[in-house]
């Protein structure tokens, strides 16, 4: 056995081998385990907040180091690229990692400000870090099977968080959520196995290379469609997303904020990775499906929004709608549309997190989860302003980032010249229609919660919410406002991400290098029991992977 090279901790540029992509994952995983120690509450929350800040810094460092188009990759256990697992950070992965860290920061700050004895006793903070480890690994892994493992790490933590507390609603929704996701995971792992059988590799960059060598193939299309089904159910697209609107209101507020902001986006990220990096040969099948699913999801979510009268149920349907917009953007398929989708995703992550936290403190102050309180504008003008910002962003009205994102999406839809034009127009129509419905639903909340005067006999006793408890929401709303104020730089960033995705060769050569993949000869000298061997270890179409090591 060769001794692996010492892990390079030197600054990433200009070489692409760097341990930086592994850092957020390892940090979150280690902290998750550390938090299970019997610590005091103050220690746990301080550790969580400190580590999450550090994770945010690391993710920002990833974004900074990949900003010039470098693709950082780290080979786990120093097994060379297509054989071992690689962690890869290109611009997209780094940006998603940063969004995750920021949302986690809000969630952890909120959890620290609202004590919850029972859930903390059963390791709320530790589970949040483990969840973040899974999410970060999903964004940063460069191996399809490792993506499945990352999904499972993420989902197991999210299952536990969903049912933590064992209220009847949580058990009901949690059971649905778990069963739905287990079926999807079974499909994902089966697809991984079949893709391996066909292409002989699971490394995403190598898959992309081999799929290109193979040319357009029905098998590849079939397997990528299977992946599409899996990721569509993970991201709660219309026929597969019925678990979402029930689950997210059932979990605690802070957890719901992280679920709503990030978990569905993992599915969207995986879709982008599959169809922009791995299987780019026959895009039309996936685009057709995504356009139809996206249009349906937008309308389904928008109609759901109108039907609800509770804060977080409304917001959960807003998450469904936003996922529909992203699927629509991916379905258009041009780099401009991808750019708009990524901008929309950024805005959506931040605004979902902010609105869930606002809902949380509103519920805390009024003692009810319903929006029919009336007259809160007098008592809490700051919350009303924050809500207006969030509502306009979700509905997509100027001067918010939501408007810019939706405008760019629709514009990209009109500008696209593809054989799917009728479907794109259908998507644009449902996008505009559902925006209108969202606006109506948001005004419903405004009328129900903030506007008017409470009836004399129904005067609500407001419970105090300290500034420390409001701070995470205000911070999150500030980031939402920043998407409008700093729309120029943000748009530049997302268009650079889209430009890199449009050229999958950058990702491939970042991971595998520019030389073709060499299959190493069978080991001879080290193993005394196996003195010499024919090199028939590798059948022509199948490269042996030296080892898979999984977290």
């Amino acid at each position: 056995m060769t001794v692996p090279d010492p892990i390079q901790l030197s600054w990433p540029l200009p070489g692409t081998e760097s341990a930086l992509p592994a850092a957020p994952v390892i940090l979150a995983l280690g902290t998750g385990l550390l938090l299970m120690l019997p610590l005091s509450r103050a220690a746990r929350s301080a550790l969580s907040i400190g580590v999450t800040l550090l994770m945010t810094v690391l993710s920002a460092l990833l974004v900074w180091s990949t900003g010039d188009g470098t693709v950082l990759s780290h080979t786990m256990g120093a097994w060379a690229a297509p054989f071992g697992i690689v962690l890869v950070a290109d611009r997209l992965s780094a940006w998603m990692s940063l969004l995750t860290s920021v949302s986690l920061l809000m969630t952890v700050l909120y959890s620290a400000a609202f004590p919850d004895r029972v859930r903390e006793q059963y390791h709320l903070f530790a589970l949040l870090q483990l969840l973040a480890a899974g999410v970060q690994l999903s964004f940063l892994t460069g191996d399809l099977f490792n993506l499945f493992v990352a999904f499972e790490v993420m989902l197991v933590a999210s299952y536990a968080l969903t049912v933590l507390g064992s209220t009847r609603e949580q058990l009901r929704e949690g059971f649905r959520y778990i069963v739905m996701n287990l079926v999807a995971s079974a499909l994902l792992v089966a697809t991984c196995g079949m893709i391996y059988g066909l292409l002989g590799t699971l490394n995403m960059a190598h898959l992309a290379q081999r799929a290109t060598e193979l040319g357009p193939s029905h098998y590849v299309s079939a397997f990528s469609t299977l992946l599409l089904i899996v990721f569509a159910s993970k991201s709660a697209q219309f026929p597969l997303g019925f678990w979402l609107p029930g689950t997210y209101p059932a979990v605690p507020v802070a957890v719901g904020a992280f679920f709503g902001a990030i978990l569905t986006k993992v599915g969207i990220y995986a879709l982008i990775r599959t169809f922009s990096t791995m299987f780019t040969q026959e895009p039309l099948i996936a685009q057709t499906t995504l356009l139809i699913l996206g249009s349906a999801t937008m309308l389904f979510g928008a109609l759901g929004l109108v039907s609800q009268r509770e804060w977080r149920r409304i917001l959960s349907f807003a998450v469904v709608t936003s996922v529909g917009y992203m699927a629509f953007g991916l379905g258009i398929g041009t780099p401009e549309a991808l750019d708009a989708t990524l901008f929309y995703m950024t805005v959506s992550v931040l605004v979902t997190s902010a609105m869930f936290l606002l809902a949380g403190i509103a519920e805390k102050a009024t003692g009810t989860s319903y929006i029919t309180v009336r007259g809160m504008l007098e008592h809490r003008p700051l919350w009303a302003a924050a809500f207006m910002l969030g509502a306009l962003t979700i509905a997509g009205l100027p001067p918010t980032g939501g408007f810019i994102a939706k405008f760019a999406l629709v514009q990209a839809g009109f500008a696209a010249s593809s054989p799917l034009t009728p479907l794109i127009y259908l998507g644009i129509l449902s996008a505009l229609l559902s925006s209108l419905i969202i606006l109506y639903a948001m005004l419903n909340i405004w009328r129900g919660f903030f506007w008017g005067k409470a009836a004399k006999d129904k005067e609500v006793q407001l419970r105090p919410v300290s500034l420390r408890q409001q701070a995470p929401m205000l911070l999150a709303m500030f980031t939402v406002a920043a998407t409008a104020l700093a729309a120029g730089p943000l748009g530049g960033l997302t268009s650079r991400i889209a430009a890199q995705l449009a050229d999958p060769q950058q990702y491939i050569s970042g991971v595998l290098g520019d030389r073709p993949v060499q299959i190493p000869p069978a080991p001879t000298a080290e193993d005394p029991e196996a003195p010499d061997h024919p090199s028939s270890i590798s059948p022509a179409r199948r490269a042996p992977k030296a080892e898979e090591d999984h977290p």
Partner: protein, 179 residues
């Protein structure tokens, strides 16, 4: 051999889906296990079936590709963990609701006026109430667990009393004893 495997996989997944559609929670869990067995066999088949060719370099060629087996091993471990977790949820649901049926989760049971927690089948494991406290409290000591148990006993006693009173009485009692 692939044909036989294809049929076996089809049967396993078919049985799994059939059980998954059941209303009984344990059957759902078993159904998911069947599906994952089918999936594992599918990976094995897709990775190439070959007899008398162990992936051991100490043996002469031919070799079977060992990677699908590594994938299956990982999938089995993950499946084991998720099944354990799902069974825990099932047990919790049974304790909270007293049914081994998806109806245990149903909204109609949540409407049971005399008992907001449903019929507890197992009074020695009461479902924890989530306190809506602003201040952090220490973990419940043994006294507090005794109180929780006493409370669920009282709840059974007062089950026939009209709306809400049982809850109020027990709450008062708990508060008194706390004082």
């Amino acid at each position: 051999m692939e044909t036989i495997f294809a049929f076996v996989i089809a049967i396993l997944v078919g049985v799994g889906v059939f059980m998954l559609l059941s209303r009984v929670i344990v059957r759902v869990v078993i159904g998911l296990s069947f599906i994952s067995y089918g999936v594992n066999l599918a990976i094995l088949t897709a990775g190439g079936l070959r007899q008398d060719s162990p992936p051991l370099l100490s043996e002469p060629a031919p070799y079977v590709d060992p990677l699908p087996q590594a994938l299956i091993l990982t999938a089995i471990v993950i499946g084991f963990a998720t099944t354990a977790l799902l069974l825990t949820v099932a047990i919790r649901a049974y304790q909270v609701a007293g049914h081994d049926d998806v109806a245990a989760f149903g909204d109609n049971l949540a409407d049971d006026p005399s008992n907001p927690d449903g019929n507890q089948a197992d009074s020695s494991h009461p479902s924890p109430d989530i306190p809506d406290t602003e201040a952090f409290e220490p973990a419940p000591g043994s006294n507090e667990m005794l109180l929780l148990r006493a409370r669920s006993e009282l709840r059974r006693t007062f089950q026939d009393t009209p709306l809400g009173t049982a809850q109020d009485q027990t709450d008062n009692q708990v508060q008194k004893e706390n004082l």
